[in-house]
Amino acid sequence: MEQIFFYIFATIAVLSAIGVISVRNPVHSAFYLMVTLLQVAAIFILLRSPFLAAVQVFIYVGAIMVLFLFAVMVLDIGKEELTEAFNQQSVIAIPAVVVMLALIAYMIIGGKLSAPVGGYTDGILIGHGTEVLGKELYTKYLFPFEVVSILLLVALVGAIVLVMKDRQG
């Protein structure tokens, strides 16, 4: 049952991911990206992580994609500009993509990515996944969490500084 759902979601996710990079219209791209992210959220639910799913939808689909769209619409990126950009970068991009794909394939075939097969933890099984996640995050992974927080803060401040400078200049 879960498998069937997984394949449905995964197929849609991959197809729309292809859609993201293949369509010319940036708004259509954003639409496909949104679909992909929603499918990923669905897969999170299948993995019994409703919190992650909700956050995925909430943050990525609900906020970040809206910002993307906002920017796309305000900047009005036309199709021509996009193709131009592709043309300029294709010399470097094509080898880079080939290398990337090779690496991914190697890792998948080499089984380096496969996680240790095992059941869900107890917390997740009784429906307290959120609690487990919170506890893990704020105890075992506190340091990386704080580092990431500071990194984000720095990025935030940096963005503001850039904008301020721009405005003064």
Partner: protein, 341 residues
């Protein structure tokens, strides 16, 4: 007999979904009527009068009109997204109701079977509601963009900017409620407010009312109702994002808007006013009626608001969102956290 139980559960689920969907579909009929009547009376008019006694058949007339109206797709519109957008607005509005608790368990008379008056009790219900209702804005954005009309585009842009600005404040108020009720599950939140009226989150002084007003203002902005209806500001944008829509596609937008209004009313009741809990212990009044009564009061409040307040200017909207609501909610979050330690 696990199979029968499973089938019964599934059947019950389907029935619940169908009932709620049907109710939601039919909801705009009385709501448009009531809204026009309220508007009429606030403006010392009569409101709908001619169709049926006291104009009661007016919503049906409107419905027939919308169904029969030609569905116009502009020539230079992005046809795919243009046709998709109304559904993208409508589906999230309906999907939200998967997590809304209308009441607690209810025993069906003579059958001795307990039914929960909600579709599911998600342990992240509040997040789910916020996340899904946030998706509704895509309908507006895509509808506005795909119409290939300047008014519609500006309407879509405004709704996206508005949504981003107020989503934060609304989320903070949700965090506040989660802190107060110590759960992400809406059922748990309602249950936590049980007892007397003083247990309601609204009356958790002093932070409760502040969270409520933050939620109320933010939610009003998110559902694009007066005084924050800039995406469909008829004074400057024609009809905003749905300028180019007609017939049933337009009706879907209307539908999702009304449903969103109901959602905000429901969420206000659930998060702050104790859900199905009775304020006073009056026997023989089923909890569901308390719930519906409270929701109706909120719906009336939103209509009342609409015909009282003028529209904010766009910069005022942004100022309220970023410079007042977010700082206030941050301060309030700290106070709430301190109180809960």
């Amino acid at each position: 007999m696990p199979d029968i139980s499973l089938i019964a559960t599934l059947a019950l689920m389907v029935i619940k979904v169908l009932v709620i969907t049907m109710i939601l579909f039919m909801l705009p009929l009385p709501l448009t009527y009531v809204e026009r009547k309220v508007a009429g009376h606030i403006q010392v008019r009569l409101g709908p009068w001619r169709v049926g006694p006291h104009g009661l058949l007016q919503p049906f007339a409107d419905m027939i009109k919308l169904i029969l109206k030609e569905d116009i797709v502009p020539d230079k519109a992005d046809k795919f997204l243009f046709k998709l957008a109304p559904f993208m607005a409508m589906i999230p509005a309906f999907a939200v109701y998967a997590a809304i608790p209308f009441g607690d368990k209810w025993t069906i008379p003579f059958l001795d079977r307990q039914v929960s008056l909600y579709i599911t009790d998600m342990n992240v219900g509040i997040l789910y509601v916020l996340a899904i209702s946030g998706l509704g804005v895509y309908g507006l954005i895509f509808g506005g963009w795909s119409s290939n009309s300047k008014y519609a585009l500006i309407g879509g842009l405004r709704s996206s900017a508005q949504m981003i600005s107020y989503e934060i404040a609304v989320s903070f108020s949700a965090i506040g409620v989660v802190l107060l009720s110590k759960s992400l599950s809406l059922v748990e939140i309602v249950k936590h407010q049980g007892g007397t009226i003083l247990h309601w989150n609204f009356f958790y002084l002093p932070v409760g009312p502040v969270w409520f007003f933050i939620f109320l203002i933010g939610a009003t902005a998110e559902i694009n109702r007066v005084p924050f209806d800039l995406p469909e500001d008829e004074g400057t944008l024609g009809a905003g994002f749905h300028t180019e829509y007609s017939g049933m596609r337009f009706a879907f937008f209307m539908l999702s808007e009304y449903v969103a209004m109901v959602t905000v009313s429901v969420m206000s009741v659930v998060l702050f006013f104790g859900g199905w809990n009775a304020p006073f212990n009056i026997p023989f009044v089923p909890p569901i009626l308390w719930f519906i009564g409270k929701v109706i009061l909120f719906i009336y409040f939103f209509m009342w608001l609409r015909f009282t307040l003028p529209r904010y200017r766009y910069d005022q909207l942004m100022t309220i969102g970023w410079k007042i609501l977010i700082p206030v909610s941050l301060v309030n979050l700290i106070i709430t956290g301190l109180m809960k330690i």
